[in-house]
Symmetry: D2
Subunit: 136 residues, 4 copies
């Protein structure tokens, strides 16, 4: 990685919304990152409180894709666009894991693929994000 | 609308993640909804605390699209997939508004278009969501 | 428009794949274009020959979005990414119309929204394209 | 596969637009397909005739995703929506290859991931398609 672990964690833990999410770094190497989203009741998205909100999952996808690219560029990158396909609901009390890999590392635009899984490895969602790397 | 205002507000205000967001209903009619997201520091997405996180905007898009369809179906609907295009950053202290309209009202699948604006009417993001209406 | 009609038609009619499609210009102004795709049997996508292929519709969406932006930039622009939502099949013998409008006109990236309709005005598909305007 | 090779090839070769494209089957197994698109001048997308049109690539993505799912369902499936990210232009005289795999095999909706490469294995585009499997 072109960024040291301490700086990487700083970008992960400093933003206020990241703090709300409580994201943890599981693993990172060049072009790859795995993040953990420990369950919080604040993530629940339905009236009965059974499922994790799709917006939380979209945020996790956005962030994980960004961090896959941060392994190359060493800094956070603006998201240009984002696509999320929801495969099955994240359940109450379920910690989620995001695995993101670089699809394209470009001078102006880069792409990351992201998969969200539960602790049993079942896919919750897949996503693809386009990020602006022009100023990197 | 096929849903009364009180029930509509209940679906908007009950889920825990909606409470975190603090969403307010501005306007709703058949196939149309306008929501307000009053600014909170918890939404900030960068280390300097200057911009609203793209994940918060994605959630707002997801929710607004859902509520445009709730005006037809009278209940929350699972999101199948979601696309977000970010146009300009939402700034610190900026309240955001989501305007969502129905593109397709189908028996099994429905589509909503969503625009996120600031209070000056500048577009922050546009999105399109596909929702499962099969069980409605 | 920042491009004269003759040049606009040249960009529309010269590429080999555009010739295969047989695209016609219906209307164009700054930030807006309407194209016609006259039906051809070569567009049929199923074994029975009943429906227009989704790939033809995706191409029409891509091209119409490009031409909405050509009204600003005066030249063809590379597509960065494309999203297509299919609403109902295009039928055999049905001419299709693409209406495209500019969503964002940026220095490096621009966005267009596209709707495909049949001659009765029924929506066949909607799309959104991101185009590279960096070199414009 | 739940479909024999002869029937598979029939679905690939019968539709008129598939004939225009001249698609060839390279390989197929359960949840996987590789198709070849031999170059034709009719695919060229720019005035100079240097690049393969993005609409042809979008069609190839749509079709390959469909065929990945045909290995499970034994019949063609309507595309619900489609996303294409263009990575680099397909060049004149370049044969393209589409590799598609199943991401989700659902009772009502299924997802396929598709990568388009040239003969040197360089990625030209990636795509993701959602298909209606409700009537299968």
């Amino acid at each position: 990685m072109t960024i040291d672990r301490e700086r990487f964690l700083q970008i992960l833990h400093t933003p206020r919304y990241h703090q709300f999410l409580g994201l943890e770094l599981v693993d990172a190497e060049e072009g790859y990152v795995k993040l953990k989203l420990p369950f919080r009741d604040d993530f629940l998205g339905d009236e009965a409180g059974s499922y994790i909100h799709g917006g939380v999952i979209a945020a996790l996808i956005d962030i994980a894709g960004d961090f896959a690219l941060i392994t190359h560029f060493g800094r956070g990158l603006p998201t240009v666009d984002l696509r999320v396909d929801y495969l099955r609901p994240g359940q109450k009390h379920e910690d989620l894991y995001a695995v993101a890999t670089t699809v394209k590392k470009g001078r102006t635009l880069s792409i990351a693929d992201i998969t969200i899984e539960n602790s049993e490895g079942k896919k919750i969602a897949v996503g693809r994000g386009l990020y602006n790397t022009a100023t990197a």
